[in-house]
């Protein structure tokens, strides 16, 4: 096995990267089941392409690149169906109807696109910082702030006391604030 291959740890991918990839995807496809499918397909594609991993990028960057292609492919297939319908349509070019026909056909159902993009980037930045936390602190932080579990559930799930929970939250917050720095604060 080459050195590059030994750097890949597929058995850890779900635990290490699934939340990050899922969060990345769902902000772009807005469908939970679809997002899960795309993440699963990414991991499966990664498994099939293990031999092609050169080690130039990190494991995570490599998986994100695969995911991006999966998302693009999804939209390409979705829009190709629309495209075929458009070819059949007749656009009446009269003096009353000025403007670019393609722009008018593209549905703008997301007037907040710029803000959504910024939020998505912030989300990825937060996840990058969560990854640097102690695993227990990260788990507590995610369960409390993202999954919004009750304290009792978190404590049972992780086998910790309420006091440990708050210590983890405190440490996680301080480290996240340092990590996010002046870019986002």
């Amino acid at each position: 096995m080459t050195a590059a291959k030994t750097n890949l740890r597929p058995e850890l991918w779900v635990d290490k990267y699934s939340d990050y990839l899922f969060n990345y995807t769902i902000s772009r496809v807005n469908d939970r089941d679809l997002a899960k499918d795309l993440v699963a397909e990414t991991f499966l594609a990664g498994l099939k392409s293990i031999d092609k991993f050169k080690g130039d990028a990190t494991e995570k960057t490599w998986l994100v690149a695969i995911l991006k292609h999966k998302i693009i492919d999804f939209y390409r297939k979705k829009n190709s169906k629309k495209g075929k319908a458009e070819v059949r349509m007749n656009y009446v070019n009269s003096d009353d109807q000025q403007g670019d026909w393609l722009e008018e056909r593209v549905q703008n159902d997301d007037p907040n696109a710029d803000q959504n993009l910024e939020n998505s980037e912030l989300g990825s930045a937060i996840y990058d910082c969560i990854e640097l936390l102690n695993p227990q602190h990260a788990a507590v932080f995610k369960m409390k702030n993202i999954l919004e579990y009750d304290n009792e559930v978190i404590c049972n799930e992780l086998g910790i006391s309420t006091s440990n929970l708050w210590v983890s939250i405190h440490r996680a917050k301080k480290q996240l604030a340092d990590c996010l720095g002046s870019n986002w604060f």
Binding site: D15, L122, K144, K173, A177, F185
Partner: protein, 80 residues
């Protein structure tokens, strides 16, 4: 918890209340104690401000994560 920075006990306690406050989990007395303490304590005032900013950022981004069950299903799909 080790007090590596030699933070006064009162500030450690208030830091804890500040954390709880972000989730509206403080009691009336804890909340009052917090508000009175940060009038004169710059360290805790700063921490309170930072905590609020972080909460606002998290609310803004609306992060998503997989439930434990969903991760197990994912692992099954990958046969791990």
């Amino acid at each position: 918890m080790k007090n590596e920075e030699n933070i006064p006990k009162s500030c450690l306690k208030v830091g804890h209340y500040i954390d709880k406050d972000q989730y509206n989990e403080t009691s009336f007395w804890e909340s009052l104690h917090l508000q009175l303490h940060i009038i004169n304590c710059q360290r805790c005032k700063q921490y309170n401000k930072m905590s609020q900013k972080l909460t606002n950022l998290l609310n803004k981004t609306k992060l998503n994560a997989l439930q434990k069950k969903e991760k197990e299903e994912l692992k099954n799909r990958l046969k791990f």
